[in-house]
Assembly symmetry: D2
């Protein structure tokens, strides 16, 4: 058994990480750090885990020795990960950071989109962008994983192969994404109240959402040229799930079979990506509580567009699940260790 | 007081019509037709209307005299309206048809998208497309209104002025729309069950939804040339509301002010369209239970796109409310008669 | 037109009050007081009311003259109403207080259940408990109404007649009530977050909820002796609505007909209470957004219990709607003025 | 590996059974029977299980040999299980029946509450009521388990120990239960539509719900005398979960400590029942998707009542999970085999 520390364990990504790790046969929890709930029993904050996780929350000082951990997960808001990651990385520990702090290779891009100075620039080159299925080789060899954002995960898994294999150019990509409210985390704000979200649907951060930079970085790598995307996130009245609908110009007259073959080539051996059959489209319920990403698509000959659709559970594949998958890669464990529970329906 | 008959009164559009008419000061209900519930008290089917609507449902034969009605509303599935509308139209009655049967001017387009033969072709020229704010003059003079579909209503109110005033061309318009489940009507199907829809989000009828034809017809009229759109409807886990996010290429370098001025020009005197301020985006809750259409937009200079967003209550502005608004136009009533109730929040 | 001031206008009860008053033909708004949102446009806080309410929020000093108002509504948390009510009452204005501060006749009971000192004890005798249908005569003559709590409203409307007419004694009354989340107000707390409430159902404040004291006071008045109740509130994953299920011992062998006759006697001329037919039970959707209280019941001969069920919209009949109804009584307006909108279904 | 057949595999209980068995290390699926979906791929009916369950549905004739199965699960509506259970029981197979058909010992009680003749009366004596924690010894030795109903499971786990240990008598027990909509199964009816259930809360079958008979049978066994209960089920706008609030007269002046000790005595070694600490009450979210039953309670000295609260996931502990737990008992497997996934939060 190896041992993991979790910093920021009481947010929703942290809570999901703890839930998944509790099922992991090779990994034990060393500490659950939380500023807000230090000294509180973890199962008071997540009553689902009563009798499963008996630990109390602690407040960790990253300058401490931390000798007993093999891997650190940081699940903090962006800007707050840099210092602890830097310190613990230097101790030689493996680190998986769930924030945005190490995802962007270009520090200027980070500072522009996140509007804050980066305090660990030297680590940017060390960090591997943790899109598990695409970068599995690099992830398995790195000491530091920058775990992808929730929106980018579903979008990139459906688009990366198409741009990489030149089935589509990168022109005028429109990404219309819909997320459950847990994507906003457990932060206590008027906009996240039940009565403000229930029976309500709205767009937000149109053209300005920070995940845009991450999607563009990875699509540019895939296409081998700069790609700009229009990204619109929406808030749906549900707890979990992201459905992303992406519109691409079919300027190479690609057929559905070609898309299918390309996706199969990338994902046939990847158990957590399921390519749906023609005429079937993803739905968030089908991946609920699981690490799956479902992908479906349509070539519309009438309009000359390709529509790519993906569904993930934002807290699993879009955060904690992918983090565990990356840890499995880093330690050479079975990729599905801790992630075997099937989606729940209904 | 004038008198209205309603055919198909027990579907959700019919139910909403009855609710709104119960508040109308110039209109009484003559009969509530329903095949499924004939002889049943209406308030057994819609218990919200107990003590408000005392009528029993009846089964109407369109060959009957129907002398006492001044206006007929038909709220039937497409294909079923043609016969009763034809017969009652010939009696000289005003008719507002909430189905798709009289919306498309071109019978071939109808027969292609709806995959059924049209049995009242001669009435297509008589019918005015009932997009209230755009065609108010024509509606006020017609005997037959083809009430718009729920998706087209919100989409067209946000797009028609831009295409008509040549702020945008009609190239590669992407319409990504999200609807509450009541848009599927009160039809008893597995896909509409609570447990299938709750905590679920999905796309459907990608590139094939019938409302595409209606949107294209009206945008082509606005643009003065054939316009083709990519239309993707989605099902959101909520009862009411449609949010439509539309992507337009900003090939004329239009500013937000120009869009705002154009919308103001069209809607300043139209109480049921609210153009939001810069930086504000529509949300379905803000129009819940009301006849409002809220419109917001963003000019994204980084991507050279214009994003238009509209929100309606699919059962009110997207069906029964617009039908009442059209009836008010046809009879010269105050446009807001029967429609004054503000949206409910939360 | 008379004029109303509203103190605490941006909570959910305040928001609903503003929505209802916007439809009231005899009442205008003079000011909308809010500490949190002073100087902000009201429609930024309640976007549903854009173009309907143009006022900005203000912060009112109860020592001001306030000459132009005829009636004051206070919609503040308990403990905060006493001072403004006292001051404005002394100016001779009519006051309707939506908090708990003037509901309990016995100051010791108040101080025990609310755990705070009462600062306006002399007004307790002036205040009439505003259960509209039961105390309409007194309400129409008073200067100060203590508007009932949401839970007590539905419970008392179903029980008061039975205890008053001695159909049941007051022994071992069990009240199991279920409320939508808006009952917790617009307060920004972890427990009110969408993701904490959605797909969740729980009991809270078992045996200790403050509304217990209010229910017991009124049932004791009805029964002419001290009545103690077991009251358990629950939180349901919905925005609006309270369903109360009450269990009474049928120790006088009362029949369903007798209960029905008694309720009819009380409510036949009361348009906002609807007594359902045998075999029909209330549901919150049937009163959604309206001032109705629906009552149903069952005499279970097998168990010798009577089960009384009532449904209200907690923000309308349970708060703002009943406040408007009481204001109508106080000023001699038609009882339904401002309250005519039918419940929304679905 | 042993092999299981499932009859009625496409209802929600069947779907949950398949999901759980897919995680079971000692059990394989032999066939998935479904009349409605015979020949259809199972993952078309439950898209969550794509790539996890590859079987097609079949239609099984209970007269077939069925040699390759070790255990049969029947998840059919009541009345339909008797024939297949009888036939397959006679082949010597172990059978777990999820319907109500073998739960009641007294055939008259069955025929009265279910209003249908029982066609396998001789098996009633063979069947063990499968309340896992209470009857584990008998279950481990039987060939036929009558799996408890969803409502009885939570209610009985909280009440059985109290009645058995004489902490309370059986007088005037009030059971107020609230269930998610999946409890109604996947049956396609108007009352189960999303738009009819969402934002709605209602009681149903007051005093007449069939689970009453099952609860009374078991409580009578516990108390050693005939116990009659008042049982009121309600429908809550959520997919999963049952919260049961039970009111008992505290006529023996029992303390919270005594209740706690008694529950601990029964459940300390039972991993799927969690007794909450004083002041904590169960919530359905805390058991979501899991086999846990959470129990909390309150002794109200003011009213002399005991309030017992339990929460379960109706599809897991209330159906498929308990069935798997019983199968584990019957075959001597680890009790948690196939049931280890923690509840999901949020």
């Amino acid at each position: 058994m190896i041992k993991a520390g979790i910093i920021g364990a009481t947010g929703y990504a942290g809570g999901e990480l703890v839930r998944l790790i509790s099922q992991h046969n090779k990994l034990d929890i060393s500490f659950l750090d939380s500023r807000s709930y230090a000294t509180v029993e973890y199962s008071k904050v997540y009553p689902n885990l009563k009798n499963i996780i008996d630990d109390k929350c602690v407040s960790i000082d990253p300058d401490e020795n931390l000798e007993d951990i093999d891997v650190l997960f940081t699940a903090l808001p962006h800007g707050l990960s840099q210092e602890p990651v830097k310190k613990i990385f230097k101790k030689g520990k493996k680190v998986i950071d769930l924030s945005a702090d190490f995802r962007l290779k270009n520090v200027d891009t980070y500072e522009k989109w996140y509007n804050t100075k980066h305090e660990a620039v030297d680590l940017l080159d060390e960090a591997i962008y943790g899109l598990s299925e695409i970068y599995s080789d690099k992830i398995s060899k790195t000491q530091l994983v920058a775990n992808p954002g929730c929106y980018p995960t579903g979008v990139l898994l459906s688009l990366y192969p198409l741009l990489k294999e030149k089935l589509v150019g990168g022109d005028r990509i429109i990404i219309d994404a819909k997320s459950g409210v847990s994507g906003a985390g457990r932060s206590v704000r008027d906009a996240n109240l039940f009565s403000q979200c229930n029976e309500n649907f709205r767009a937000y951060s149109i053209g300005t959402h920070r995940h845009t930079s991450e999607i563009e970085q990875e699509l540019s790598i895939a296409a081998g040229k700069e790609v700009v995307v229009q990204f619109t996130p929406h808030l749906a009245p549900m707890t979990r799930g992201i459905l992303s609908t992406v519109y691409l110009i079919n300027n190479k007259n690609v057929s559905e079979k070609e898309i299918n073959d390309t996706l199969d080539h990338y994902y046939d051996n990847q158990q957590f990506v399921r390519v749906l059959e023609e005429g079937e489209y993803p739905q968030t319920r089908a991946v609920y509580g699981s690490n799956y990403c479902d992908i479906g698509f349509k070539v519309d000959e009438r309009t000359n567009n390709i529509i790519m659709i993906s569904a993930i559970d934002n807290l699993v594949k879009g955060a904690a699940g992918q983090a565990v998958q990356n840890m499995n890669l880093m330690f050479g464990f079975d990729i599905s260790e801790g992630l075997r529970q099937p989606p729940i329906w209904p």
